[in-house]
């Protein structure tokens, strides 16, 4: 079987050409299948007496997989030509390119390859040579390509683009059969098109004149080749059919075209001599901030988790908010199981104070949504979520709606009007298109901050805690220590922004008299900035402390703020004495030990540096892994001079050899057997006492065997 794809700009007459060529091929005794690959789905109309046939995509949308039959989407037309029509979405929604992919996949699965055909003709829209519309160009489909163009510039521009697409799908064998000039009657158009053909290394294989016979035949719902087989036009069409056969049987060679660059196209349009190709590296003029064409994964940052997950995680920290993930079920599954497992773990440890829920919903986008648009799916999911009784609903978009361009904002505006008592929040994270996890988290945090009522009056004695990660507080003991530290000054928590909170608590955020960052890192500062822009509130200048240095500073700052200096000094004195005694007792185990600290999660490391130095350790490296965020992430530390940034595991491995450490403290959860002792980076909560407990843990690590006995087992393969 020979497969030929006929490409051309929309409206150029390629469907008319295709149908006529199919009939001309059939009249030579060949069995032909014509597949229309244009969303306007009129390719086969002239083969079916002017009637439109059911499109493959409509069929896929309406008929469940087990019930699909090939005979439902392939019908026999004029001269026995078999007809199939891809179809596509309404203009402006969905992804027509994806529709072409699905059409080919569906035809293959239903057994179209087993049909008894000699030639398959693909009639393809050539205005957009995206991945989907380029499918017929692939090696496993088109053996030959014909371009239909007129003498108008945009038509040749489209033809030139298709040649570029053909270059990208190079099979090693030339495949361009030639150009059909479908005349529009433009002055000098034949000469222009022949210049274009010559410049691109191909030829005009037929010139089809403007002829009233086309209009007459189309009005009757038939092809010229069928109604006027003895006409001049029919003879031209027969010649094209013969050309296809000649190429297919090797009597005539196809060519590999050399498409023109933009300057050359300008010369062609202006009627100038076409200059030689500049041959320079093309520069992408896309939405990607002007970055150059990539040739390697090394050319860009690697994001480990997507913005959609970050946004979802942020909203799920609010117990009474439902998150509707606008995307496929797999996204929901991956996010919900990860998040659910974490919450169940916290609940089991008694530090999650509310009953765990699973408030993630999903629009369950499938192939039909990616083709026809997913707004209907989203609307249905929103209505169902409203019916469940949620009053705050967040919509987070994944890659699929981001790529196909669903207008979620317009829908939410409309749905909000129908449900005035429900607040809808849109986070157009678009999967990873808007960045990685933290980017999405911050986008959601902005939406959540908008819920804060700045007019709520302040009540003394309450404090808000600001942070993206409350990991350090997620043990019962650490939570109690936090409560004790606050209670010492008569304070208690109002709102955790963001952790285990509710929409009411966020709304009443301004009830607290103080806001404190849980840790002094870039993420906490960014959250504080988001809150400040909403409320005008600035966080207390000293964040929640970890370690002796920060704790004493914090005590004095809070004591001064609240007029409780004496209480602060008393506690500072007690804890300093306790700390000093600890150091004396334990210093002998740390003194002179060479230590590498590797930090991936942008935790505060100052307390650890202080602690190790106080214990006499020799810190030979403090490495921070680079941030995968779109705009990077700053590091805040009192020990900046000790910190190596953009420190990757490869650097660690080199340091392990060259620096010969005794101990590695790292939050990268993987063992490094046999190299040196390795301790987990501590989640130490706040204050000083838990830091001392962590020091005891590290001390034990240095006294215990480096490799656990279980590692002697072998992985079952």
């Amino acid at each position: 079987m020979y497969q030929v794809a006929i490409y051309g700009k929309g409206g150029i007459g390629k469907s008319t050409m295709s149908a006529n060529i199919s009939v001309a091929l059939a009249s030579r005794g060949l069995k032909v299948l014509q597949v229309g690959c244009d969303p306007k789905h009129d390719s086969t109309r002239l083969l079916l007496g002017g009637e439109a046939q059911k499109t493959v995509l409509e069929y896929v949308r309406s008929v469940p997989l087990p019930q699909r039959r090939l005979e439902d989407i392939i019908v026999e037309g004029t001269a026995g030509v078999l007809c199939a029509e891809a179809g596509g979405p309404e203009p402006g929604i969905g992804c027509a390119g994806r529709g072409i992919l699905t059409t080919f996949d569906t035809l293959r699965k239903l057994g179209a390859d087993d049909l008894d055909t000699d030639v398959r003709v693909y009639d393809v829209l050539g205005d957009v040579v995206c991945g989907g519309f380029a499918v017929p160009l692939r090696g496993e489909y088109a053996d030959g390509i014909i371009l239909v163009t007129s003498g108008e510039f945009m038509s040749m521009y489209a033809a030139n683009n298709i040649m570029k697409g053909l270059e990208n799908f190079d099979t090693g064998s030339p495949r361009l059969i030639g150009i059909i000039l479908n005349s529009r009657g433009v002055k000098g158009e034949e000469e222009t098109v022949r210049r274009f053909a010559a410049a691109t290394g191909t030829e005009v294989i037929s010139v089809i004149p403007r002829d009233r016979l086309f209009a007459e035949a189309e009005a009757a719902g038939h092809t010229v080749r069928e109604l006027h087989p003895d006409s001049e036009v029919a003879a031209s069409l027969d010649a094209i059919a013969q050309r296809i056969l000649d190429v297919s049987e090797g009597r005539v060679a196809a060519v590999a075209p050399t498409p023109l660059d933009d300057d050359q196209m300008s010369d062609l349009a202006a009627g100038r001599e076409i200059r030689p190709s500049s041959g320079g590296v093309p520069v992408a003029r896309s939405g990607c901030h002007g970055c150059g064409v990539r040739g390697s994964i090394r050319d860009h940052r690697v994001m480990s988790s997507c913005a959609a997950y970050g946004a979802t995680a942020a909203f799920l920290k609010m117990n009474d908010v439902a998150v509707v993930i606008h995307g496929p079920r797999s996204c929901q599954y991956l996010m919900a199981t990860t998040r659910g497992k974490a919450i169940l773990d916290l609940y089991a440890r008694g530090v999650y104070r509310r009953d765990p829920q699973c408030n993630i919903r999903c629009t369950m986008m499938d192939d039909s949504a990616s083709i026809f648009g997913g707004i209907g799916f989203l609307e249905e999911a929103l209505e169902a979520t409203v019916a469940e009784g949620f009053h705050d609903i967040a919509v987070v978009t994944t890659c699929m709606p981001g790529i196909i361009g669903d207008d979620c904002e317009a829908l939410l505006t409309r749905v909000s009007g129908l449900h005035p008592d429900v607040r809808f929040h849109l986070v157009p994270a678009d999967g990873d298109i808007c960045g990685e996890y933290t980017d999405g988290f911050m986008m959601a945090a902005g939406a959540i901050a908008d819920m804060i009522d700045p007019d709520v009056p302040v009540e003394p004695g309450y404090v808000n805690l600001i942070g993206t990660s409350f990991f350090d507080l997620q043990s019962r003991e650490h939570a109690r220590e936090l409560e004790r530290m606050l209670a010492r000054f008569g304070l208690r928590e109002n709102c955790r922004f963001l952790d285990e909170t509710t929409s009411d608590t966020v709304r009443n955020y301004c009830r607290a008299s103080m806001d404190m960052m849980v840790t002094d890192n870039a993420n906490s500062r960014e959250l504080a900035s988001i809150i400040e822009s909403r409320t005008g509130r600035r966080p207390f200048p000293v964040p929640m402390p970890v370690g002796l240095h920060d704790y004493t500073e914090w005590l004095r700052a809070v004591g001064s703020e609240l007029g409780m200096e004496a209480e602060a000094e008393e506690e500072a004195g007690n804890v300093c004495a306790e700390y000093d005694a600890f150091v004396v007792d334990h210093r002998h185990r740390f003194a002179g030990k060479r230590v590498i600290v590797m930090n991936k999660l942008t935790h505060n490391v100052d307390w650890l540096i202080d602690l190790l130095q106080d214990l006499g350790a020799d810190i030979v490296r403090v490495g921070f892994v680079s941030s995968p965020r779109k705009n990077g992430s700053r590091i805040y530390s009192r020990h900046m001079e000790m910190i190596t940034t953009d420190y990757e595991v490869e650097d660690l491995l080199e340091d392990m050899s060259s620096l010969d450490p005794d101990l590695l403290i790292s939050d990268i959860a993987r063992p490094l057997s046999g190299r040196c002792r390795m301790a987990r980076f501590g989640k130490v909560g706040v204050g000083v006492r838990s830091v001392l407990e962590y020091a005891e843990y590290v001390e034990n690590i240095m006294r215990l065997p480096n490799d656990e006995g279980w590692k002697e087992g072998r992985v079952i393969r």
Binding site: C130, G131, N168, G287, V302, P356, C399, G431
Partner: protein
């Protein structure tokens, strides 16, 4: 409670990951990679812990499973075939016996040409690609479909059929404690004198898959997870054995499954049935010993949700063996129609017709479902006992074998019920 289920995209990746020496090359964003990587590593680690250090190369970035192209906005706009061209040789350098390029849902929209990359690198015999819309398929259906695609890519031949040999179909590494499930069912089959030569979908190697076409029988465990595969083996002359009792869940269906295999293969079921008999006696001993707990089970309501061929025998068994009331019975997308008919008929026959199609209900005694739903409902007061029977909960498995199939599976379910009744 709203259940959260995987789809065909998850199923396709895990199906390839189920093959001991094969590898997925994911054409998609890092977010899609990381969770599949974690899931795969959690349920089926292939590398020693220290081996991670050998994977600090592009596309792997320090983790051995599910290397990916890390698509971002640039790639979605401009296409990312260059990454597949660059990455495939790096993946191949790890020497998998077979590899499958799988598009993420977003990558499926940009239409990169993997066929060309494979051809240009001369890897047609070792690499296939999957660019179908996987999210439109139920997870189990896609799991079987993916395995069939791999088999078709391997293109094995049935050149030396071996009598008395068996392949087990319909087990997946997404099953709860799949390793123990495989060992349990292989043990039952082998106790009858048959030899299991491959378990496609649950730890088979590429060589085993190639050789599996020479098996005399293909025994179905869970039909939903081997659609397509069954036809493939049947078309190649392997005799299919499928139990009319559904998957071997609970003592009764396990016995039915054993008898079906024995009858079709012409072997003696007695050794396998004896295992069930002993387990039944052990249960009697324990239940008599803890009769006050056992008494609490009778009359409890339950919700069961999952794969139809699992839910059907489970529902029947809980009703007859423990006298529990089925108040909600729901089956996952892609259910086997025969199993759906059977469970619906059963519910009608016991006057619980209204329970069919209901997701797990708040306030029932026990919930049998995928782990996340079962555990969440048990801790938030939605039920007294939550028993995970469905897709694995990302590696939160026990060290003690606790599958849901066969004799061990029956004991696991009874253990959960007895302890659940005790503490509630």
């Amino acid at each position: 409670m709203t259940r959260v289920l995987p789809d065909g995209f998850n199923g396709a990746i895990m199906a390839v990951e189920s093959i001991s020496d094969a590898m997925v090359f994911l054409h998609g964003p890092g977010g899609c990679r990381v969770r599949h990587m974690v899931h795969s590593t959690a349920v089926y680690p292939r590398d020693d812990p220290d081996d991670d250090l050998d994977f600090f190369s592009p596309y792997f970035y320090g983790y051995p499973r599910v290397p990916a192209t890390y698509l971002d906005e640039y790639d979605f706009i401009n296409g990312a075939a260059y990454k597949v061209r660059e990455g495939l040789p790096i993946v191949e350098s790890r020497r998998p016996e077979f590899a499958v390029i799988i598009n993420s849902p977003g990558a499926g929209l940009i239409g990169d040409n993997h066929e060309k990359a494979i051809r240009d690198l001369g890897l047609e015999s070792k690499v296939v690609y999957m660019d179908e819309s996987l999210v439109s398929m139920p997870v189990t259906m896609c799991y079987g479909h993916m395995l069939r695609t791999v088999l078709e890519g391997l293109d094995p031949v049935r050149d030396s059929p071996r009598p008395g040999t068996v392949v087990l179909l319909g087990l997946t590494i997404m099953d709860k404690d799949w390793r123990a499930a495989t060992e349990e069912l292989c043990g039952l089959v082998e106790s009858m004198g048959l030899e299991v030569v491959a378990v496609p979908g649950a730890g088979a190697t590429v060589a085993e898959l190639r050789g599996s076409l020479n098996a005399e029988f293909a025994v179905v465990v869970c039909p939903e997870a081997c659609q397509g595969l069954v036809d493939y083996y049947a078309d190649n002359g392997v005799r299919i054995i499928r139990s009319p009792h559904g998957a071997p869940v609970g003592f009764d269906a396990t016995e039915g499954w054993i008898r079906t295999v024995a009858e079709a293969a012409g072997c003696d079921p007695a050794p396998a049935l004896a295992r069930v008999r002993r387990a039944r006696d052990r249960v009697l001993e324990k239940f008599v010993g803890m009769k006050y707990n056992a008494l609490r089970i009778k009359g409890m309501t339950f919700s069961a949700a999952g794969i139809a061929s699992v839910v059907r025998p489970l529902t029947e068994w809980l009703y007859t063996y423990l006298c529990m009331a089925p108040v909600a019975v729901d089956v996952d997308p892609g259910a086997d129609p025969d199993e759906v008919d059977a469970v619906r008929s059963f519910l009608e026959s016991i006057d619980y017709a209204e329970s069919f199609g209901r997701p797990p209900v708040h306030g029932c005694g026990a919930v049998f479902s995928e782990g996340l739903t079962a555990v969440t409902m048990s801790v938030n007061g939605g039920c007294r006992v939550g028993v995970p029977i469905g897709h694995s909960s990302m590696g939160l498995d026990d060290v003690i074998p606790r599958p849901i199939y066969g004799v061990q599976g029956s004991l696991y379910i009874l253990d959960e019920m007895l302890h659940g009744a005790r503490v509630n």
